[in-house]
Amino acid sequence: MTLAERVLDGDIRAAARLMRDIDDRFKSAIEELKTLYPHTGNAYIIGITGPPGAGKSTLVDQIVAAYRKKDLLVGVIAIDPTSPFSGGAILGDRIRMNRHADDAGVFIRSLATRGALGGLSRSTTDVVNVMDAMGMDVIVIETVGVGQDEVDIVSTAHTTVVVMVPGLGDDIQAIKAGILEIGDVFVVNKADRDGAERTARELTTMLEMKHPDPAGWAPRVLLTEGARGVGIEELVQEFDAHHIYLKESGALQRLIEERNAKLFADSLREELFETVFGAIKGNGKYDEIVAGMRDKSIDPYSAVQEVMAGRAFS
């Protein structure tokens, strides 16, 4: 049996291995993903993002517990940064959620960013597809701790949750562009701390300025204490409400189509680059160009045009 067939058969080790093949960019993984693709599209995908230390992993742990109480199967993808120096990584999100490790209804996978800058790893969408094909009802993606501009999660998740904590800055921070624009749900975690109400008020004010459309989804700000499980029930209810909104408004279909289009464009970009770059490295053209730029006989822009002219796509 192929890995993909074993995945569809419920083989956990096969799923784990396939995720690794995807992460390590094995060509064979593409074939397996082809087999799985028709079996995807059933899972509800939640993205959790926010700055380092906001309590994302602890919230994910509680969200997993809440969905398990409803008897739903839950997949988790937790992303942590790769060292730019050694290429190694310490993936520590499991510390907060490993109590679910031996629950057969939960599958948790840690991924390293491996140089990707948008808050996810390059492999994330494909790993989501594997979990989806495994039959997970809900998939929770925890991004790397983000700053202001890592917004890839929006094109991957159905519901994006931005987790903030009190005391990160004044209300000007809240009207800047970036991650504060992408939330479908906002959470002020560690709500037992001073200033939580104020942070929630500032976020609410920011959101009220942005959303005049009465028919659209109006993101709300919820208060939670992840470590004690306070506010989790309301949070999961909000996910349900957003999921229903997405389905009834047709927005879910649009999201799925955007995600498909992005997956296609990303795959095409990579395949084209690898093919063309491989070809010019193989036939000596690449060395020629590098040498040409050295003695200024060619500029990089003309070199690209020359390479492209050598292949007909039209």
Binding site: A16, G87, G88, G92, R94, I95, R109
Partner: protein
Amino acid sequence: MAERRIRVLVGKPGLDGHDRGAKIIARAFRDAGFEVIYTGLHQTPEQIVSAAIQEDVDLVALSILSGAHNTLLPAVKEIMKEKGAADIVLMAGGVIPEDDIPGLKAAGIAEVFTPGTSTEAIVGWVRDNITPHA
């Protein structure tokens, strides 16, 4: 075509709360270019093996300072076998008497490092003995 990156689970089974050693090892592995899944304190053998399978690691490195190594380490290996994951290498470190090491190795623990071992020696052992799954 990319290459396999070594993935290691570092964790602490049982009840002792001393994780300095485990953290130093995790850091040394990170600096060696490995991807380390750090599961933290108080893990049961079942949780460790399930996590190792889900993460598709090549190696499980456990730190034990409680004295329960003769129980916990063979238990982890047994559960690996039960779950069809006996190919994942199990290694341990901690305050483990020399006299116990032959018995642990007979139970399938590939290597045991005792206090005073340098991180270089441990990373070197991993490089020499761990071939990532094909």
